[in-house]
């Protein structure tokens, strides 16, 4: 297979195609592991998930089992969750708070900064076990954060996270700036399986084209409740489109049809919430000026950070990451992000808003899952019908629209450049 030929781009003809074997091939999946998941910055977790000293969580990222924790001095670590002795996973709980970690297999112990902490009688182990680091928990090669979003990279020579994120930083700022005291992950989030290739969710998460055909029942629901507000903002800010953020990242931004707990009121939220949400909006405008404040309040943004992180600031804020388990199967983790110290009623409203659309029990996400799984099934016909068409908007003069497919083309160009690289 010539990997570069999996993608055909004809700018003059206005055609962009992706071969469906990119979604089905085990060979492609192996190359993705080597050239994408071992080379790109991957989302690990949010700072608020390990808010206190000695807090830890365990998480699978990039095909690895990791410990994400804060040590006694408050420093953040990401360790490979495997005992340097014989390999057992050292931490088996999902989360907790501990002064040390102890492997249950033979009892090797570690301080929460990763240092080997067992003391055996003389004759059992040489000095290098204690001083040389060979018995310490192994750190991931690179761990860096931006605005409380922590990322790992398994490539020691990767560019700094800040360079990698490129234009995505501006859009992370639009989320992180929503509360002066910072943002936090609310609860444990949702973990589920989709029987489809992971790239189908990457595409879907920033795809406005499918919105009305797939989610008509969601929009019907908004209409019934009086939660659909389509009128314009009254501001002169009219940006509604798509931005190539570099390195395969892309965002779509558009006027919201739905309510936003921060800070766009709709009638279904109730009259009592109206002044509260107006005050939030005033606060944002005061801090950031009319244009940026209104943009943060009114507009929705769906962002994909290559390869597998979605930050959608829509009727609620969701952080979503997904990993291939097989060419036709992915595991998805999704969290709700809210303001730190948020008022109880607003937090409740935020979570209520999240669930009306998002997640396996929402009024929209399950239909996305159905679409993705149907695509994956449809790819069984790839010998006869081999290509996906991702051309929408190519002949357009001027900037792309948010319901064009340029954002997916950004993803696929990056994918092509990385998958075809010599590993």
């Amino acid at each position: 297979m010539n990997l570069k030929e999996l993608i055909v781009e004809d700018r003059f003809g206005g055609v962009f195609r992706v071969h469906r074997s990119a979604f089905t091939s085990a060979e492609v999946a192996l190359l993705e592991r080597a050239n994408i998941f071992q080379r790109c910055w991957l989302y690990l977790g949010h700072d608020s998930e390990i808010a206190g000293n000695c807090d830890f969580i365990t998480r699978a990222v990039g095909g690895r089992e990791l410990i994400f924790n804060r040590d006694r001095a408050g420093a953040v670590h990401a360790f490979l969750n495997t005992c340097p002795h014989r390999g057992a996973m050292v931490v088996r709980e999902k989360k907790g708070n501990a002064l040390s970690f102890r492997c249950f297999y033979h009892g090797w112990s570690f301080n929460v900064n990763g240092r080997f902490a067992s003391r055996f009688d003389e004759g059992n182990y040489g000095k290098e076990h204690y001083g040389g680091g060979c018995a310490d928990l192994a750190q991931v090669p690179r761990l860096e954060s931006y605005r409380d979003f922590w990322f790992v990279n398994f490539d020691r020579n990767a560019v700094p996270l800040s360079d990698y994120l490129a234009g995505a930083k501006e859009y992370i700022d639009l989320v992180a700036d929503q509360n002066e005291a910072g943002m936090e992950v609310v609860g444990s989030g949702q973990q589920y399986i989709i029987n489809a290739n992971w790239k189908l969710l990457a595409e879907n998460s920033i795809d406005a084209f499918h919105g009305f055909p797939v989610h008509s029942t969601y929009f019907d629901y908004l209409k019934t409740l009086g939660a659909l507000r389509m009128e314009s903002t009254g501001s002169n800010f009219t940006a509604s489109g798509m931005h190539d953020l570099g390195n395969g990242h892309a965002v779509i931004e558009y006027a919201s049809p739905w309510g936003r707990p921060i800070a766009r009121w709709v009638p279904s939220m109730g009259e009592d919430k109206r002044p509260v949400i107006a005050a939030l909006r005033e606060g944002l405008i005061k801090r950031f000026g009319e244009q940026r404040g209104t943009r943060m309040s009114e507009f929705s943004r769906n962002m994909l950070i290559f390869p597998n992180l979605v930050i959608n600031d829509i009727m609620a804020i969701t952080i979503r990451t997904f990993m291939p388990a097989a060419p036709n199967k992915m595991t998805v983790s999704a969290w709700a992000l809210g303001s730190r110290g948020e008022d109880h009623d607003l937090r409740k409203l935020r979570l209520f808003n999240f669930l009306e659309f998002l997640g396996p029990g929402g009024f929209a996400t399950p239909d996305d899952q159905e679409a993705l799984e149907n695509c994956q099934r449809g790819y069984q016909n790839l010998r006869e019908v081999g290509w996906n068409d991702i051309s929408k908007g190519m002949p357009r003069q001027g900037p792309p629209m948010n319901d064009d497919e340029e954002q997916m083309r950004c993803f696929w160009r990056q994918w092509r450049d990385r998958i075809g690289a010599v590993s």
Binding site: G187, S188, Q190, I193, F352, P360, D367, Q369
Partner: protein
């Protein structure tokens, strides 16, 4: 309450829960919704945790009465794509216990296994239902239903049917 009374009440509640299960099995979803009292709630908490307040942690489902009604309305449409064509379901209930009774409202818990079949894939959901049931009403009315999955993640991926 005397032992015989408890057993009799449990028997009536079991009949009621079997009726509920049958309505869901047969996709009589509007009739199912009619089993709920006005103001009722329907919830599915997150898996693998003991988080129990939808105001402070992210559930899978946290419907008030209006959203539950709209969930049912949605499921009657063929544009609810995840249930078109409709899946087939079977709801199994066991270990029914009446754990409290006050002011005509019974606290009821039971184990459940729900199977959902579609396009050659069988999804299995299992856990415990926690109900508050108005047993003075005739017929009984559900005041709240919480389905606590005994799964550490949502393996079936979707929660489109009422488990």
């Amino acid at each position: 309450m005397r032992r015989n009374d408890t057993a009799a009440l449990r028997g009536r509640i079991e009949d009621f829960l079997y009726l509920e299960a049958d309505l869901l099995d047969e996709w009589k979803i509007e009739e199912w919704f009619a089993l709920f009292a006005e103001g009722a709630t329907y919830e599915v908490p997150p898996t693998g945790t003991d988080e129990h307040d939808p105001a402070t942690s992210l559930f899978y489902i946290a419907d008030d009465y209006v959203r539950l009604r709209e969930r049912v309305v949605r499921l009657t449409k063929k544009e609810a794509h995840s249930e078109f064509p409709r899946s087939q379901q079977r709801h199994m209930i066991s270990n029914v216990r009446v754990t409290g009774l006050a002011d005509g409202v019974a606290d009821v818990s039971c184990n459940f296994v729900t199977y959902r079949a579609k396009r050659g894939v069988v999804d299995t959901y299992y856990g415990k239902h926690l109900y508050r049931i108005d047993v003075n009403a005739e017929p009984f009315r559900i005041k709240s239903k919480r389905s606590v999955l005994a799964m550490d993640m949502l393996y079936p991926g979707k929660l489109t049917i009422i488990i």
